[in-house]
Amino acid sequence: MKFRILAYFFLLLGVTDLTIKIFYGNIFSRFTEDYYEIANPILVFTPVLFFSLGGVFLKESRVSMSLENFGTTRIKYYSPQFICLAVVVLIFLFFTFNAQINMENRGIDFGFDFLAQESSFDMQFSLMDYDGQDPYWWAYVVALLNTLLVAVLGIIFCTIIGVVVGVARLSPNFLIRNTAAWYVEFFRNIPLLLQIFFWYYAALRALPLPQDASPLFGVTYLTIKGYYMPAFIWNNLNVFMYSILAAIVSIVFIRYYAIKLRDTQGKQIPVFYISLIILIILPLFTFLFGGVSLNFEIPVLKQLSATSFIYDGGIALPPELIALTLALSLYTATFVAECVRAGIQGIGKGQKEAASSLGLTANQVLKLVIMPQALRIIIPPTTNQYLNLTKNSSLAAAIAYPDLVLVFAGTALMQTGRAIEIVSITMLTYLSISLAIAALMNWYNKLIEIKEK
């Protein structure tokens, strides 16, 4: 009984304390803005102390209470939970009021109307048309696409490198195994920001100027100002696309038929080679009969001044994008490789031996027996690595790649001065991207996990 009185006393004290600080503190602070600035730690500390004391006593009192008459009084059962909720809400309100008052005192506006204003700055690189006359919200969309571009590229490359290195770490070949191990240990243990700086400031800086560059693969040029590639100019692109679509549909159909053939008659047909032939022949026909043709726009050296050149025409990948993608994928690939290795080693040795004794080749063992089971172990930790890569892409700001953080939380924030609004939007955006990736990976995980009937 004594405990419960003490518990209610402290909880009430906490609520009163917070209420007074929020509402009265609010009023007083109009006269002296010192109040919140200086007293913040003390202001939050006392209610937290009161609530924790209250919680401790409440728990003490509930131990004896719950044994005797649990469930008889709902109020007793639910009231602590309500109080907890109230505390969370009050603390949230406290910080909101605090920010509001300090902003009011300093004459800072709050609102999202700036999003419709003209942005009036330019962006180095964008996937969609962007101009300084466009509003801030469009700058946000374009910057977000740049972030997604580097995230998607990074995820694709880190998966490819990660799987190869992960499998290589288990290779019986001494050289392959140890090279892979050294790669993982080296890239995993150097801070990512340093690696980004290395690729951008050291590695790419060593590239030649455009006029000195010798062609790579005949028509592409890797220079200090970027990677210049020919652009494709299509005639009747849609016919070509339809032919690829038709090829994919027929491959799916053939695969289905092959499985059926295998299950019913035990016959095997070389599905892979048939698919490959279809995928090449069908689009090829469109060139011969469908009126499809392809031209290349090859980058041409253009002189800007006595010593300054660029390549005009074609596609130009900025060095910032290349450095960032390189650093992100090489760094994250080490973690993916370790996930892959863990997944393969997590499958019992007996599985491999049993498959081998059935006469499957080493490739078939890996593809048909080990990998399908290993994936169940690999997917969840790899999801974490994808999320890390996406969040790490915000380090782009260090090397001038126009991602969400550089453009929106950087330039836009500076030009509008709307720090709270822009930072919250940016945080929410990263949260949404991460949750979307996690949802997608969880869905895939569900798809491949053991179906228990």
Binding site: T32, D34, I108, F121, R205, L304, A400, G410, T411
Partner: protein, 346 residues
């Protein structure tokens, strides 16, 4: 609710303490920033991350520059010692947040005075300590001698979060030139990228170009083009809402400029107390009660002149003698053909 008198009294006591705490701070003086500065014993000043002539730290961590001198002047006026300044190096992106959030009390970081900054984001510009304009730097070997020789596809390096980024767009758009903006967060990164050949031109305030040029691997290989494409009045900034502090910073700067106008230097300031000119006597605290309005003693301006020097001394020491911009240009006194003109201290 309260089972014993003791509990009730303790509750009342806690509430009373809370109230006492809130009412005590109501007695705060007119200027909160001045009070806090005097309590702390140093002026919190936001400067650049290293711009020779404006705010730059040497190997032993001593800050010098004309922006630094503004903060030192305020420290001399308010605390009696120009060295009692704590400098916080800030990037262009961080600077305003640092000021509005109360991390620093003066932002003296080659910051351009614009309408939207002054009116929109809780800042107040107190004056101009350097009249500047945006320019372009190119490699001498490129053969470019004027911005009219710029061609489509030119890449331009600059800082994010600056007026430069906006002016650059205005400039290239008005000329109808397509360009590739490459915007970095730190000035050193911009210089490194330009120096390595990533960009054809580096654009920022002309004073900044002249100062950064000294940092390059071979300064003689680069030239600043003659064209000025914008107005960039640079000056110290304070938080909005503390008008006394605002006045102290404004008049600390004005004192330095006016001292130069009347020929008062750090060397002759004491002897000027016996001058025949009442304007000079007011500036060195021998006449009038000018400090009282700020809650300061009467020697505040004398301390600024003695410890920091007048504007001309500061300019010579930091910008002219270091070879950044030997010619004062518009930053000459109005009496000598420049546009430095401050209201009278009386």
């Amino acid at each position: 609710m309260f089972k014993t008198i003791k509990q009730l009294t303790s509750f009342v006591a806690v509430v009373a303490v809370l109230f006492a705490f809130t009412t005590e701070t109501m007695a705060a003086k007119k200027s909160k920033t001045l009070k806090n500065t005097q309590k702390k014993g140093f002026v919190r000043c936001g400067v650049s991350q290293g711009l020779p002539g404006f705010s730059n730290a040497d190997a032993s961590g001593n800050w010098t520059g004309i922006d630094v001198d503004v903060c030192r002047a305020v420290a001399a006026a308010v605390l009696g010692d120009a060295n009692k300044v704590k400098f916080t190096p800030l990037s262009a992106k961080e600077r305003f947040t640092a000021l509005t959030s109360g991390e620093i009390d003066i932002l003296s970081r080659n910051t351009t005075w614009t309408l939207s900054r002054d009116a929109d984001i809780g800042l107040t510009f107190v004056g101009v300590n350097f009249y500047d304009g945006q320019g372009f730097m190119v490699r001498k070997s490129s053969g470019i001698t004027s911005t009219s020789q710029f061609k489509d596809g030119i890449s331009a390096c600059t800082n994010i979060g600056t007026t430069t980024e906006l002016n650059m767009r205005d400039f290239f758009n008005s000329k109808g030139i397509s360009y590739e903006p490459v915007a970095f967060e730190k000035a050193d990164e911009v210089v490194a990228a330009y120096d390595a050949g990533r960009c054809d031109t580096y654009t920022t305030d002309k004073s900044g170009l002249a100062a950064q040029r000294t940092k390059m691997s071979n300064p003689d290989e680069h030239i600043v083009l003659p064209e000025t494409v914008s107005k960039e009045p640079l000056g110290p900034v304070v938080r909005q809402g503390d008008s006394v502090w605002e006045d102290i910073v404004r008049w600390s700067l004005n004192t330095m400029i006016e001292a130069e106008e009347y020929g008062i230097t750090s060397a002759n300031a004491d002897s000027m107390k016996t001058s025949d000119n009442p304007a000079i006597k007011r500036l060195v605290g021998a006449e009038g009660e000018l400090g009282a309005a700020f809650g300061l003693d009467n020697d505040w301006s004398l301390r600024i002149i003695k410890q920091v020097g007048n504007y001309g001394e500061s300019y010579k020491r930091n910008i002219a003698d270091t070879g950044i911009l030997p010619d004062r240009g518009p930053n000459e006194l109005w009496t000598k053909g420049g546009i430095l003109y401050v209201p009278p201290a009386r």
